[in-house]
């Protein structure tokens, strides 16, 4: 009996192994970056970037491009040009050209969410101008895909870019009462890519863009800082505040019409100050100035969102979670009349070792 069952397992092992698709690491083209652009005649140009691993340990890049009417045809077109099968499991970044983003990117993200081999932490970004031009350059020495993903990652972790990736994008997309947002990448020099703002979406369509200097306030509202930095003008002096640590809390203060308070708590230390000595009075002054500025900018930003009808902060979702029988049809109008108060509490914990 035992011998028979053993042979069954062996037989199953040998016969079923034909059902598994073998993808030997050096016999496949590993797609690490992908970009979609809109070209004339309603056609889409897809660009697939694969790394080339050279014997001297340098990583080169190679891109395949193809034009087709739909994203499904694109795969066929690109596979035809590739000498080895293209596999998607190690995808690092997906770029959407501005034209495509304005028309809606659901068609493309759908393919990503269905593919089980693609991880949920793939970065999505909108390409200012074209995705192809970004993917076909050469940046850094670790390959384009790694360079771009690290660029986005470090800006999210330590700078003013709010955290987004495929998982969070899809969460925001399918969450009622919240709209997704993605970073915008731009090729500023042949070898340098810059983050030039945040793309704000209405559903899956690009609605407007947020300039880089507003990103700090946007992140305060949507995300939390653990290691940010901000430059502030206090009278004649300039202050750089580092190691920013922020939290925000949304509170529903009144219904009919809805009234919301956003409480932002910020902690930070002074890194640079153009004046001489930082006295407690000056600290108080800086804190006050900072709070006012945050309140002003954040309120203006929210007002702007309300006018455009987009809700990246997720007020709708928040109110829904607090309200029985919430109606999203009415919310469209109610959002326009929503009153949002921003309250900021700033604490400076350290002023540096110079007294």
């Amino acid at each position: 009996m035992r011998i028979r069952s053993f042979f069954w397992v062996l037989a199953a092992g040998i016969t079923l192994s034909g059902c598994v698709e073998k993808e030997i690491i050096d016999d496949v083209n590993i797609e690490m970056g992908v970009g979609y652009d809109f070209v004339e005649d309603d056609k889409i140009e897809g660009t697939v970037m694969i790394p080339i691993f050279n014997p001297d340990k340098k990583i080169g890049n190679f891109t395949y491009s193809a034009t087709a009417a739909s994203s499904r045809d694109l795969i066929q077109e690109v596979q035809r040009k590739s000498a080895q099968p293209l596999v998607t499991g190690s995808l690092e970044i997906a770029l959407f050209g501005e034209g495509i983003a304005k028309k809606g990117i659901r068609e493309f993200t759908d393919a990503f969410e269905r593919d089980a081999s693609i991880g949920a932490r793939v970065y999505f970004a909108v390409a200012d101008e074209s995705a192809k031009s970004i993917l076909s350059g050469t940046y850094g020495n670790r390959g384009n895909a790694v360079h771009l993903s690290q660029l986005i990652k470090h800006n999210m972790e330590t700078r003013n870019l709010p955290i987004t990736n495929m998982h969070l994008y899809l969460f925001d997309l399918y969450q009622e009462g919240k709209d997704p947002y993605l970073p915008i990448l731009k090729k500023v020099e042949p070898e340098i890519i810059d983050i030039v703002g945040i793309a704000l979406f209405k559903d899956d369509k690009l609605k407007s863009e947020l300039p880089p200097d507003k990103m700090f306030f946007f992140k305060l509202l949507t995300d939390k800082f653990s290691e940010g930095a901000y430059k502030l003008d206090v009278g004649k002096e300039k202050v750089v505040i580092k190691d920013l640590d922020s939290k925000h809390k949304i509170k529903l203060t009144k219904r009919d019409p809805y009234n919301i308070t956003v409480e932002i708590k910020i902690k930070g230390l002074i890194r640079e100050y153009t004046g001489h000595i930082v006295t407690p009075e000056i600290i108080k002054k800086i804190e006050k100035e900072f709070e006012e500025q945050v309140n002003k900018e954040a309120s203006a930003m929210i007002k702007d969102f309300q006018e455009q009808g987009i809700d990246p902060v997720g007020f709708g979702q928040f109110i829904k979670s607090k309200t029985r029988g919430f109606d999203f049809k009415r919310w469209e109008d109610e959002y326009k009349n929503l009153t949002v108060n921003v309250k900021t509490d700033m604490i400076i914990t350290e002023v540096g070792i110079v007294e």
């Binding site: 092992g13 073998k22 030997i24 690491i25 690490m32 340990k57 990583i59």
Partner: protein, 514 residues
């Protein structure tokens, strides 16, 4: 050729018989012809000498196997007294000669065994029925050497030898209590090996002892040359690659496990003693662990356990990841792996098998050759073959490192038998990794786990304390807690006295300062 040889042998035997007849006169009346004598007379080391007592003029005869007998004992301690003393009856022998072990007997059936145990048979003219055995064994024993397999820097440096008596002596000295019981059995129709079963009365579970005794008694085999035979013959599952009895060459370890309530089995002619019941985790604990502080030994045990897992799994994981799961590989590692594999014409499985087999060959060659040549093989194999195969583009250097590390890790197991098992286990894992990728590794691991769960050692669960879970037994399993916390014997042994020492009393004894 064979015919010729046989013929010559027959001639020799006839010649020898003729010589015996002429030299030792005709066999006297008092010598009863037995079957054993006829057979023995064919061997040239069977000696029979005749003497006459000077006082009573009685004839007496020594029969013995000269290769087993120390003849100087006969010459110095027996013969002068027997020639000059007053020897009238066979009982007089006892009082005449200064040898402690002299037995007078009338059991004819004992004669053969006694002769082969190095006794000298004394027969006397006029005594038809009785005869005497004089102990004159020749002991050829090598010196007690340092343990080689289980060497420890700290701790006792003696190891077992091939003589059962010497080995028992070393154990008795360490456990000088009357409760230490040594049962002796003879196993093997040809080898007649003495097998000693040791346990401490009042501690060891009688079921365990009885299991061992019964299994040892039931052994049907002709030539037992080593305790390894016994392990294989009395194992619970003889088809398992896992050793189910721990073997050791350290008398101190035997003393320690006897105190824990285990049973020890010693075989005459084998410098390795067996310990049972045992568990899987015990194979990863070196005896030196007990000589070190518990923090250190716990750490080393964890390192060893990690090394074993690493040794079994790392090559299969490499094959699985490179053949099926490129997406598992971190992006920074991707370039290293692909660059190292770009010139390799072989798929990962062949590459891995090639290197694994190379390592196995080296190991086998190194084990078979004399030490000095073996070292050369190590260097040739390690450096030349490794580097050359990478340069020739047969294997990737990443895999070379992985396989070498896996081989190194498999040597960390303190018990040699377990190291061999680990060597073997890697190959089914590799096979399934190639067939099904990670799923294959999981499948083979499930098989391994199921097998281990079923395995028993003398009827006690082999995977204890992991399963069945026995929290208290973790005190001396994957980690080792301090001795003050080892106040209970392991649960799975079901000892008759589960308490090693009183926890309370141990805590009461404090320094005066405190």
């Amino acid at each position: 050729m064979r015919q010729l040889f046989k013929k010559k042998l027959m001639q020799d035997i006839e010649k020898e018989a003729a010589r015996q007849d002429t030299e030792g006169q005709k066999p006297e009346q008092y010598l009863n012809e037995h079957e054993w004598e006829k057979a023995l007379l064919k061997s040239h080391d069977f000696k029979r000498t005749f003497y006459v007592n000077q006082k009573t003029e009685k004839k007496f005869c020594f029969s013995f196997i000269s290769t087993l007998v120390d003849e100087s004992i006969l010459q110095n301690n027996a013969l002068p007294y027997l020639l000059e003393g007053e020897l009238t009856e066979i009982v007089d022998v006892k009082s005449l000669i200064p040898i402690a072990d002299v037995q007078v007997s009338d059991h004819n059936e004992d004669i053969e065994t006694k002769l082969f145990n190095g006794y000298v048979l004394l027969t006397l003219e006029g005594e038809e029925k009785y005869f005497a055995f004089i102990a004159a064994q020749k002991e050829v024993v090598r010196n007690v050497a340092q343990p080689e397999v289980e060497f420890s820097v700290i701790g006792p440096k003696e190891s077992f030898v091939e003589s059962l008596d010497h080995n028992l002596n070393m154990i008795r000295k360490r456990v000088p209590v009357k409760e230490l019981i040594i049962e002796n059995y003879t196993v093997g129709s040809l080898s007649k090996s003495g097998v000693a079963i040791l346990y401490i009365d009042g501690i060891t579970n009688k079921d365990n002892v009885n299991t061992v005794v019964q299994r040892v008694k039931d052994i049907e085999f002709d030539e037992i040359t080593d305790s390894s035979y016994i392990v294989q013959l009395i194992s619970d599952n003889q088809n398992s690659p896992f050793p189910q009895l721990l073997d050791t060459e350290r008398p101190d370890r035997i003393a320690a496990i006897l105190a824990e309530g285990k049973v020890a089995i010693l075989v005459d002619g084998s410098p390795h003693a067996l310990i049972g019941p045992t568990t899987l985790v015990e194979f990863f604990g070196s005896f030196e662990d007990y000589f070190l502080n518990y923090l250190l030994s716990s750490f080393f045990r964890l390192v060893r356990l990690f090394a074993v897992a690493f040794s079994i799994l790392i090559t299969p994981i490499y094959v699985a990841a490179l053949s099926y799961h490129y997406e598992l590989i971190p992006k920074d590692l991707l370039s290293t792996l692909i660059t190292s594999r770009r010139e390799i014409p072989l798929p990962p499985i062949l590459e891995a098998l090639f290197l694994e087999l190379t390592i196995e060959l080296l190991r086998e060659a190194g084990a078979r050759l004399p030490t000095k040549v073996g070292q050369t093989i190590g260097i040739v194999g390690g450096i030349v073959i490794g580097t050359a195969s990478v340069e020739a583009g047969l294997t990737s250097n990443v895999l070379l490192i992985i396989v070498a590390l896996a081989a190194l890790a498999s040597f960390t197991t303190p018990v040699y038998r377990m190291g061999n098992t680990i060597r073997l286990l890697r190959f089914p894992f590799l096979f399934f990794a190639e067939l099904w990728g990670m799923l294959g590794i999981v499948v083979s691991f499930s098989f391994l786990l199921a097998h281990l769960l079923k395995l028993t050692s003398l009827g006690r669960p082999f995977l204890e304390p992991l399963y069945p879970p026995r929290i208290t037994d973790f005190k001396d399993a994957i980690i080792r807690l301090p001795f003050t916390m080892q106040y209970n014997r392991p649960q799975y042994l079901r000892t008759e006295n589960p308490v090693r020492f009183s926890e309370k009393k141990a805590k009461q004894k404090k320094d005066i300062d405190e």
